[in-house]
């Protein structure tokens, strides 16, 4: 299975060119949040600059579109247009201002294209806003009907389909950080089953006050750098000149919480930032002691367990791919787990971890988009490294671990540059 195109909407801006330029320059994207605009616990975040669904996508069909949907529709749009989908939005049937007719014909549609989109929990902002209007309205059902689809997790994927006429399987994978890697495994099965000829897969995550506060409380107030964006890859079985990378293997494992889930002995893996700060941890060293007390029911993963799980997933993936560790050119961790980075360092050495700029540091924690960003970063950094092998890993705070092995190709983009 080959990756033949990709697109991003990232804190570097819209499109591949902005992403590639910013990433290769290793430019951090965190910006100070204006406290007048953002009532959030974070001082900084990595936001897609000037992004707003209405300005980016136009006024038609975006009246009630939430941010994560806008990010996904924009990123998928770049690739859908490459595939020949009609450009531009269709009329929004929920929008009273829209006067057109829905496209009843299937002309220009793509029944053989699937969309597999990763999320964590959809838009918790839209969900909480909806419930808040029920709780604070004069009557509990004084809610905006047009906001209803936004409050469901599959909204972004469904809107991508509506906007870009994608009529194949339309799957929302609510798998958090590893979504982009798990989506590759899922896409492979869709292709093997003949359920699609082309799969657009990746992930999208928005920055919002609701997400910020929920993650803040989940971490017991530990600081973190959150990011947002969407990254989408086109995968197919065709072996043409546009192969950017071949997916040799995807392997997933689960890291179980220790000691009945009460994380007493070790620092929680959740939302720890930055590979650079964690140079001391190795896969076999004891985990550092907690730096702060955690709530009683915190289901923490021991960093040593994470390291062992990641190492096992990588070993199996390499075994399936038939690649020896010494032949791995780049190792690309999420950057949000000390144990994960430590495991890759031990397997591949420090140099391998530095070949692809660390999206976890540069873009912050982009949640369900993070693994997809790791993939696009690998393709961007490895554009002239045909034949090299890269290992990409991810760990969700819940314990799902995934590893993918890619062999970079020599394909050139045939897609429309943005």
């Amino acid at each position: 299975m080959n990756i033949t195109a990709w697109s991003t909407v990232s804190p570097y801006g819209l499109g591949r060119a902005a992403f590639t330029a910013g990433l290769l320059a290793r430019r951090p994207t965190a910006v100070a949040l204006d406290p007048g605009q953002w009532q959030v616990p974070d001082a900084r975040a990595c936001l897609v600059p000037q992004f707003d669904p209405r300005t980016t996508l136009g006024l038609k069909g975006t009246r009630t579109m939430n941010r994560v949907t806008g990010l996904a529709v924009t990123a998928v749009g770049d690739l859908a247009q490459d595939l020949g989908a009609p450009a531009g939005p269709i009329d929004d049937p929920m929008d009273p201002a829209a006067d057109g007719i829905m496209p009843g014909s299937m002309a220009g549609s793509m029944p053989r294209t699937a969309l597999v989109l990763g999320t964590t929990t959809g838009s918790v902002q839209s969900m909480m806003d909806f419930t808040r209007s029920s709780l604070t309205g004069e009557r509990p059902f004084d809610v905006e009907p047009a906001a209803i689809p936004n409050s469901v997790m599959n909204c972004a994927a469904a809107q991508c389909a509506i906007w870009h006429h994608i009529q194949g399987p339309n799957t929302t994978l609510a798998c958090g950080r590893p979504s982009g890697l798990l989506a590759l495994a899922y896409a492979r099965r869709l292709l093997l089953g003949g359920r699609a000829e082309t799969v657009l897969c990746g992930g999208a995550e928005e920055y919002s006050p609701a997400r910020s506060w929920l993650e803040h409380h989940s971490r017991d107030g530990e600081p973190a750098l959150l990011g947002e964006g969407a990254a989408i890859l086109r995968v197919e079985f065709t072996d043409g000149p546009d192969t950017l990378a071949t997916v040799l293997a995807v392997e997933s494992r689960v890291c179980l919480p220790t000691s009945s889930g009460t994380g007493r002995a070790s620092r929680a893996v959740t939302y720890t930032l930055g590979a650079a700060a964690t140079a001391t941890l190795t896969a076999t060293a004891p985990a550092p002691a907690n730096t702060r007390p955690t709530s009683a029911n915190r289901t923490a993963l021991a960093e040593t367990d994470v390291a062992a799980t990641v190492a096992e997933a990588v070993r199996r993936a390499l075994g399936r791919a038939g690649v020896a560790p010494r032949n791995v050119w780049a190792a690309v961790p999420s950057g949000h787990s000390e144990g994960e980075s430590a495991a890759l360092r031990e397997l591949f050495g420090t140099a391998a971890l530095e070949r692809v700029p660390a999206t976890g540091d540069l873009l912050g924690d982009t949640g369900a988009a993070s693994a997809a960003f790791q993939l696009t970063a690998t393709l961007a950094a490895g554009a002239d490294e045909s034949g090299r092998v890269a290992v990409i890993t991810s760990v969700d705070p819940g314990g799902a671990v995934a590893a993918a092995v890619l062999r970079l190709g020599d394909g050139a983009f045939r897609g429309t540059p943005r």
Binding site: A157, P169, A174, R195, S218
Partner: protein, 401 residues
């Protein structure tokens, strides 16, 4: 690929035996909603799961670390494993696929967090509840409870057809060598958010859900979980497992048309995709378990789509939501379980609350009383907001001589 274990948490019975008995009796799961304060709504019936004791099923996981939907999914998975005659160790040394579909994830907790935020601001939310919210936990809870490490764990957020999406994924995972066992299904818990959404759309029935009836007034929101254990026929034979049914195939597509209204042509195409994948001709289907929400729009569109595919004499078409309410992400998983039980126990569960079939929905919905039937092939429909259609075909397992 065969189904050898069933786990059920539903408003008409917990566990496959009680669920089967409820289906056969045409039990109604309706009760006044108590999950949230219903003051101000003119009517608020639902199909809640009453008398569910998570501690009876959940052993390895601190129950307090799980939201209500994750408790349902973990408990249903535990039941499915027991029902299949497996012990955890057998799964732990195998390669497993866990796929749990959902519409709302832990929105029940998210609603409570929203209420706390309204009351005291966002700085004073419960960390315990906040940690339960992320949707990946619905499937992770299954892996934790069963002690699975060699597993691919997916939460499928494809709304109200997510259970069928999960089942199809489990089928393909085994078919293509990604797993030895698949635990797949769906889970959701009743919440204010979704009740209010359907209420605002005018699609909550005041009393009960009457699919395909001329007097139908909409859905009732329900909750629960269904998890099916899938394995290859060879695996089932080798361990002498009871086989409920075979999974023959499935179809997925997307209307790409409207955020909430289903599209007849596209729904019909999804059924055709599933039939083709399963290698089944329309006239070979003995029963359809409809999405059958009991809304005006769904039932007309779905019955028309069925007639497009199956012609003027479609197979009997039942709507379990008359008994279970709309259990959202669990709906098509519970539908698939009901189909498996119907095949195994040779009966068709009824569409209850039925008075007079809507002439615009001309199908035999098996009104009010179950009938005996030898079913060979059964189709399970799942439709969702966003035009996410998923149809699964199950067949009776007949040993070849």
């Amino acid at each position: 690929m065969v189904i050898t274990g069933l786990g059920v948490v539903s408003s008409i019975g917990i566990g496959p035996e009680r669920f089967a008995a409820g289906l056969r009796l045409g039990r109604s799961g309706v009760s006044p909603i108590t999950a949230f304060d219903t003051t101000g709504y003119a009517h608020a019936n639902g199909c809640q799961v009453l008398g569910f004791d998570p501690a009876a099923w959940i052993r390895r996981t601190p129950v307090d670390s799980l939201g209500r939907a994750s408790r349902f999914s973990a408990a249903a998975a535990r039941m499915a494993v027991q029902d299949a005659g497996l012990i955890d160790r057998q799964l732990q040394v195998a390669r497993c696929q866990v796929s749990i579909g959902t519409t709302d994830g832990e929105s029940y907790d998210l609603d409570r967090l929203t209420a706390a935020e309204v009351a005291g601001g966002p700085a004073h939310l419960s960390p315990r509840l906040a940690r339960r919210v992320p949707s990946p936990l619905l499937s992770v809870a299954v892996a934790r409870e069963l002690g699975l490490t060699d597993a691919e764990v997916l939460t499928v957020g494809t709304a109200c057809s997510a259970g069928n999406y999960a089942l199809g994924n489990g089928l393909d995972a085994i078919r293509f060598g990604d797993a030895d066992f698949a635990l797949c299904g769906g889970a959701d818990a009743v919440c204010r958010k979704t009740f209010t959404a359907f209420y605002r759309l005018g699609t909550i029935a005041p009393d009960c859900c009457r699919p395909f009836d001329v007097g139908r007034q909409g859905i009732l929101t329900g909750e629960g979980a269904g998890v099916l254990l899938l394995e290859s026929l060879g695996s089932a034979r080798a361990r002498g497992a009871r086989v409920y049914a075979e999974v023959l195939g499935y179809g997925l597509n997307c209307d790409a048309y409207h955020p909430v209204a289903p599209n007849e042509e596209s729904v019909a195409r999804c059924m055709a995709l599933a039939l083709s994948d399963a290698g089944v001709k329309p006239q070979e289907v003995d029963l359809i378990s409809a999405h059958g929400t009991g809304t005006k729009a769904n039932d007309i569109t779905e019955s028309r789509a069925i007639r497009r595919v199956f012609g003027e004499r479609p197979p009997r078409t039942v709507a379990l939501k008359s008994m279970l309410g709309h259990t959202m992400g669990a709906a098509s998983a519970l539908g698939a379980i009901a189909c498996s039980l119907a095949i195994t126990h040779r009966f068709i569960p009824p569409t209850i609350n039925h008075v007079e079939t809507d002439p615009e929905c001309p199908i035999d919905c098996v009104p009010n009383t179950a009938v005996e039937a030898d079913l060979r092939i059964v189709q399970n429909n799942g439709l969702a907001f966003g035009g996410n259609n998923a149809v699964v075909l199950l067949g009776k397992h007949e040993e070849l001589l």
